[in-house]
Amino acid sequence: MERRTVFGGRLLPAVLILPQLLLTGFFFLWPAGEAIWSSLTRQDPFGLGSTFVGLENFADLFADPLYVDAILRTMLFCAAVSALSMGLALLLAVFADHEIRGRAIYRTLLIWPYAIAPAISAVLWLFILNPHVGLLGRWLNAHGVAWDYTINGGQALLMVILASAWKQVSYNFIFFLAGLQSIPRAVIEASRMDGARGWYRFRTITFPLLAPTTFFLLVVNLVYAAFDTFGTIYALTHGGPGKATETLVIKVYRDGVVNLDLGSSSAQSVVLMAGVIALTAIQFRFIGRRTAG
């Protein structure tokens, strides 16, 4: 949509937009360019210079079974976090949409967890599931379940999935509730008169009408699980034990910042960028279609 009335002048708009462009240039485009450049070069062992090696870093990366493992692990993690947090949020939103007593209070009590930092959610879960200190962790051990996520990789993965999904429920809840409230009352009334109710009405009427919200949230949740959970995972397990909870972002951090392998870390960054660009493109294509149709 183009605006008919505009202000004249060229200097003023340039001055207004300059801060944003400078920030973008220095802290986004330049680093992204550097990442692409160093993903195509290799440092010599003495750090004296670098040579252009084309796509060799990428070839090495995908030939590395550890990297392929990390990709699969990240996909499993993202799928589990998204499914858990969206499923629970949808359940809560459907019932919070009912006209019951105290629903404003319920909403507030389900929205505030939005404020919890991913790294803090790790701390909260530690007090539940830590085998020595945690309430539930101790109980499990006392009842014959050998629960210790600092040794057992599968348990560690389960724990970071739970902590990550838990933190994201209220975000999804806000959107599902808004989606439910935007369904026209007339549609619900009509289906009620046709005798559709309960689970049947939800499955045939409500859920299909929520599809745009669900799809939007799916993309947001995948991006959240892939990137924003760094704090949760790093605080709880540092990616361990071994590599049991090492997602792609944790791996970039470990390889680049801890092990200083710049070529590989940059190639990994470029792969992640491609992933985000693909997800964003899918989302915008979809939203574009929605506003057009």
């Binding site: 949509m1 009335t5 505009v6 202000f7 340039a14 937009i17 801060p19 944003q20 462009l21 920030l23 973008t24 220095f26 802290f27 986004f28 485009l29 680093p31 992204a32 360019g33 550097e34 990442a35 809560l92 019932f95 919070a96 009912h98 319920y106 507030t108 929205i111 505030w112 939005y114 404020a115 790294a119 803090i120 701390v123 909260l124 007090f127 020595h132 945690g134 309430l135 101790r138 838990w166 429920v169 209220s170 806000i174 959107f175 808004a178 990137f227 924003d228 760094f230 704090g231 790093y234 605080a235 970039v252 951090y253 680049g256 910042v257 870390s265 960054s269 992640l272 960028m273 964003t280």
Partner: protein
């Protein structure tokens, strides 16, 4: 008739949901009043004690080698406010330029901003660090905040708001002799007040909750945010002062929760409008 039964079911499910979020937080509130040694021996309980001494202790002294908590809260607060205010100002100005002016490369500029949407910090850790080092911004408050101020989401949101403003309003302001800056100040800002409030909540929480970025650019303990500090505290394997960890967790949770709850109405409307 069937209403009674579904109401009962709704209360049960929503009640469980509320508990699922409230209990873990209640656990740290209760734990912060218990004795560290007892917690370490496995005596953590949901029943609070009466001992509030962990709070003044962590606030003034810190624990296990971290800065005092009051200082970390100050860094977090300053960081969250600087990021929220910075992002809002920068985005309003750039969205205003893109919507209300015609200038060469306007579309290019917009697309450059839009691109940043696809480049979260997490995917460009090392090169961004290198750029920061070139600018001498490592271990500085500017380094902690300025790179997080550029934001495509906020610019897109304000663009959406501004595009929806009727041409007649702009026309009327011009006939009254209002220049571009007066129009921005007297009409555009008041009209978008609700959006600004909503965005403030989202960005404050975003800034307060940062972990990876401060971990990367600020190794100086004097720049530790509360989130960084608490993760450091649980990283100590032996001799962890558990009641101090829990008191710190409570203090870290409080400010963003207060902001979200107090501004809930604007926040929810702004979030669901903005993202779509």
């Amino acid at each position: 008739m069937t209403h009674g039964r579904t109401d009962w079911l709704a209360h049960a499910i929503l009640g469980c949901g509320v508990l699922l979020f409230a209990l873990p937080v209640w656990l740290v509130v209760a734990g912060s009043t218990q004795e560290s040694g007892a917690i370490a021996r496995g005596g953590l309980s949901l029943l609070p004690g009466l001992d509030l001494s962990a709070y003044p202790r962590v606030l003034t002294q810190g624990s296990m080698g971290t800065a005092p908590v009051w200082h970390m809260l100050l860094v977090s607060g300053a960081m969250a406010l600087a990021i929220a205010a910075g992002k809002i100002v920068v985005s309003i100005l750039s969205a205003y330029a893109v919507v209300f002016f015609r200038f060469p490369f306007r579309r290019t500029a917009f697309w450059i901003i839009f691109l940043t949407l696809m480049l979260p910090v997490e995917v460009r850790i090392i090169p961004t660090y290198a750029v920061m080092a070139d600018f001498g911004l490592i271990n500085s408050f500017a380094g902690l905040t300025v790179p997080l101020i550029a934001s495509a989401t906020a610019t897109l949101l304000f663009r959406q708001v501004f595009v929806a403003i009727p041409d007649e309003l702009v026309e009327a302001a011009r006939i009254d002799g209002a220049g571009p800056l007066r129009f921005l100040r007297d009409i555009l800002l008041p009209v978008s007040a609700a959006n600004i409030a909503a965005l403030f909540v989202i960005l404050f929480v975003y800034g307060w909750n940062q972990y990876l970025w401060p971990l990367l650019v600020a190794t100086d303990p004097g720049l530790d945010t509360i989130v960084i500090g608490i993760v450091k505290m649980i990283g100590v394997e032996t001799q962890t002062d558990w009641s101090a960890v829990m008191a710190t967790a409570v203090l870290a949770l409080l400010p963003p929760i207060v902001v979200v709850v107090l501004m809930q109405r604007w926040f929810v409307a702004g979030l669901t409008e903005g993202e779509k």
